[in-house]
């Protein structure tokens, strides 16, 4: 009863914030470049209120709090000195997310205590930022819920996330080319069909210098990641060679993984050109189908 009264007493902005935060789709490369959304960028009455969640903003203007990621968990450690504190690395085609789950995330902690590395997992969590000193920033996810999923779901997540990122890239380039700033830019973008939240995010993001290099790298890794997706085995000669390299990796690697140099020697001996082995390995790494447990060792997922 008390709670309902409170809701009625809240002004419009805060009322909306009580709704569930949308779980944003974002690749690791864009995620790790996120920075804290300064409270001053929002209205005073919101900033005064401690209930307002902490938001991060990506270089492309995505404002986020909750995220939904699907990828391969490649490392999992209990780093807690007293009680549990799980630290996990979840790899997507562009990089890796660092995820934490402690005693206040019981559901995620129980999940991490049972999951076997490596595995495809889906996870929701809140983005956290930690800046021990100026210039060194750590962006991570505090896990809420997680589950083991199959490769089909992982592929679909990559395509969904690529679509939303490419939409964002398009809106961002449009904003950059328009020459507008601030409020004018916001209105321009909304006019162009961009959601009001992204329009606000982009107008904030554009106030900082945006590295063209970052955008280029992001585009390249999305492109690579999409090409690496494996639907029903793929098509053509490249797919055959890929299949062969994969089989060989299975044969040689077993459950422990294989030394990359040894693997390369063996593959070349069986008639696969060196650059093909290199490319396939890179694609497999980017696609999350294999990973490096130690430098120089590659191992298949699953």
């Amino acid at each position: 009863m008390k709670r309902i009264n409170r809701v009625n007493a809240l002004p419009l902005e805060e009322f909306i914030l009580l709704k569930r935060e949308v779980a944003k789709r974002i690749f690791a490369k864009e995620f790790e470049a996120c920075r804290e959304l300064e409270k001053a960028a929002r209205s005073d009455s919101e900033a005064l209120d401690s209930k307002v969640p902490n938001f991060l903003i990506s270089p492309l203007g995505l404002i986020l709090n909750r995220v939904f990621v699907v990828g391969v968990v490649t490392e999992l450690d209990n780093i807690g000195t007293q009680g549990e504190m799980w630290k996990a690395r979840i790899v997507d085609p562009t990089g890796a997310f660092t995820v934490y789950a402690g005693q206040y995330q019981p559901e995620a902690s129980i999940f991490f205590s049972t999951v076997k590395v490596p595995a495809f997992i889906a996870l929701t969590g809140k983005a956290r930022i930690y800046e021990p000193e100026p210039g060194s920033v750590f962006v991570s996810i505090r896990a809420e819920e997680a589950n083991v999923v199959d490769e089909e779901i992982r592929n679909r997540w990559v395509v969904d996330t690529a679509e939303q990122t490419v939409d964002r890239l398009a809106a961002f380039s449009d904003a950059l080319a328009s020459g507008y700033h601030g409020e004018e830019l916001r209105e321009y973008l909304i006019e162009r069909g961009v959601s009001s939240e992204l329009a606000q995010g982009i107008s904030i993001a554009l106030e900082k210098d945006v590295s063209q290099e970052f955008i280029k790298l992001l585009r390249t890794s999305i492109r690579e990641g999409l090409k690496a997706l494996d639907f029903d085995g793929g098509t053509g000669a490249k797919a055959d060679q890929k299949e062969f390299v994969l089989e060989l990796l299975k044969e040689m690697g077993g459950s422990k993984g294989v030394d990359y140099a040894t693997f390369m020697e063996e593959a070349v001996a069986r008639g696969i050109p060196e650059q093909v082995v290199e490319e396939v390995t890179r694609i497999l790494l980017a696609g999350g189908q294999c990973y490096e447990p130690k430098i120089g060792i590659i191992r298949l997922v699953g």
Partner: protein, 454 residues
């Protein structure tokens, strides 16, 4: 004391305008009387009345908004005396009620003070708020609202506003009383209902155009009209039912069939209107008060508590706890299964309710199989835990009705399936949008060369 509060009052006047007229000063002094420190009282008042005052159009109104500004033309105005409550020494007061309209819609209002205008005049209201009353949003003008007459307004004239507005189905909402529309009948059936103790026959069905669908009810016969008819409806009444607008065809409503020549110019045909709705972004569902018969797809990001096996009261169907119904007391519960899950597509999220038939399909277990699990496990949440393990992260597409509540969108699913769109096609389109890669150009040349040679 006055010296201490004077600067705060000055600041409030700068921020909020005339404090006396709006009663804000009285509110401030009340806080002071309750020993609230003046600077805290100032903050409180600023938070309540100040900040960004939003200027809204009538179509933007939703339940429980506060502190906004609105301009509209009075379409209708009446007053009724309110008897004073017993035990209070207040004299009798008057409540002014009527209808206010702008170019986006019209809304019922009630005012506790006399308005500075009458039917046909345009008024501007600052610090208005909304309440839900009898299933409809009502604009409230309180003691602290500032109402002024706007003699030179560009709002449409009284006759334009009071006539029925012609609208597409998607634009029809709680703010409409009477509308005109052209739509196709895609469902049509007769049913018997009890109205004021009398059995009467009504027609109910579904209308569709290129923008969406809405249910309709006809309280009169519709000769010659059936599934597939494209009809023009003039002066239909909009009523709200379970948060969903419904088109009501009454005696006063004109219904005519659209001829084949005119139908050619419409943006829809029976074939296109009757097609299953394609999934839309959850963001688009979030932005509306309600949507009838829409589809969306996303990930199950959370399975909510209360999912799994539940007990219902045999009398009223309410969910019961520990064998006790809130209304009927101790009852022998009937077991049922349901799933409440958060579906999120990255643009928006909504709470989706899967009733038993769908829950069984989505879960892949029948109620009986789930019961087995419940009895074989010591944990009372065995089914819920199993559901979470099974569903969290999965892709689902749903079709059903969405309506907005205080905590966001609730969606009642009528169909659910696993989306099977072709990822390879989407990847090709994405690669095209990303453009060619510099280092890949060479690769592309050689592959073209290969085709040429072949």
């Amino acid at each position: 004391m006055d010296e201490k509060i004077a600067p705060h009052l000055e600041e409030l006047t700068r921020a909020l305008g005339d404090l006396e007229k709006t009663g804000i000063r009285a509110e401030f002094e009340k806080l002071i009387a309750f020993r609230v420190p003046p600077d805290v009282a100032k903050e409180t008042i600023l938070r309540k009345f100040g900040g960004k005052r939003k200027v809204l159009k009538i179509k933007d109104l939703s339940a429980n908004l506060k502190n906004f500004e609105l301009t509209g033309r009075i379409l209708d105005l009446g007053e009724k005396p309110i008897r004073p409550q017993e035990g209070t020494n207040k004299g009798s007061s008057r409540l002014y009620t009527g209808v206010l309209a702008d170019e986006t819609g019209s809304v019922l209002f009630s005012s506790w003070k006399e308005l500075p205008g009458s039917v046909g005049d345009v008024i501007n209201i600052k610090n208005a708020y909304t309440r839900v009353w009898q299933n409809r949003i009502r604009l409230s003008i309180g003691e602290q609202s500032l109402v002024s007459k706007e003699p030179d307004s560009t709002l449409p004239s009284l006759s334009e506003l009071s006539g029925s507005q012609t609208k597409k189905l998607i634009d029809i909402g709680a703010m409409d009383f009477s509308v005109n529309t052209v739509a196709c009948v895609i469902q049509f059936s007769h049913r018997e209902v009890l109205v004021k103790g009398r059995q009467s026959r009504v027609i109910s069905g579904v209308l569709a155009d290129e923008t969406g669908r809405l249910p309709f009810t006809a309280w009169v016969e519709l000769p010659g009209i059936d599934i597939g008819s494209i009809i023009r409806i003039e002066g239909a009444q909009i009523r709200m039912f379970k948060g969903m607008p419904s088109v009501n065809i009454l005696n006063s409503t004109k219904v005519s069939q659209v001829g084949p020549e005119e139908a050619k110019n419409l943006a829809f045909t029976f074939e296109s209107a009757v097609k299953d709705p394609a999934p839309i972004k959850i963001e688009d569902i979030n932005s509306r008060e309600s949507m009838f018969d829409v589809a969306a797809a996303g990930n199950v990001v959370s399975v909510r508590p209360g999912s799994g096996i539940i007990s219902r009261c045999p009398e009223c169907g309410r969910v019961i706890q520990k064998g006790n119904c809130r209304v009927h007391g101790k009852v022998e519960g009937i077991r049922d299964m349901r799933i409440k899950a958060i579906l999120d597509d990255g643009t928006g999220s909504m709470s989706v309710m899967f009733p038993r038939e769908l829950a069984e399909i989505v879960y892949g277990k029948t109620l009986e199989e789930a019961e087995q699990l419940m009895f074989s496990d010591v944990s009372k949440d065995a089914v819920y835990e199993d559901l979470r393990r099974f569903l969290t992260g999965r892709y689902l597409a749903v079709r059903g009705n969405a309506s907005k509540s205080e905590y966001g969108i609730s969606f009642v699913a009528e169909k659910a399936w696993i989306p099977e769109d072709d990822l390879a096609v989407r990847v090709v389109e994405l690669l095209r949008r990303l453009g060619p890669d510099e280092e890949n150009k060479q690769g592309e040349c050689s592959s073209t060369g290969g085709i040429y040679l072949a």
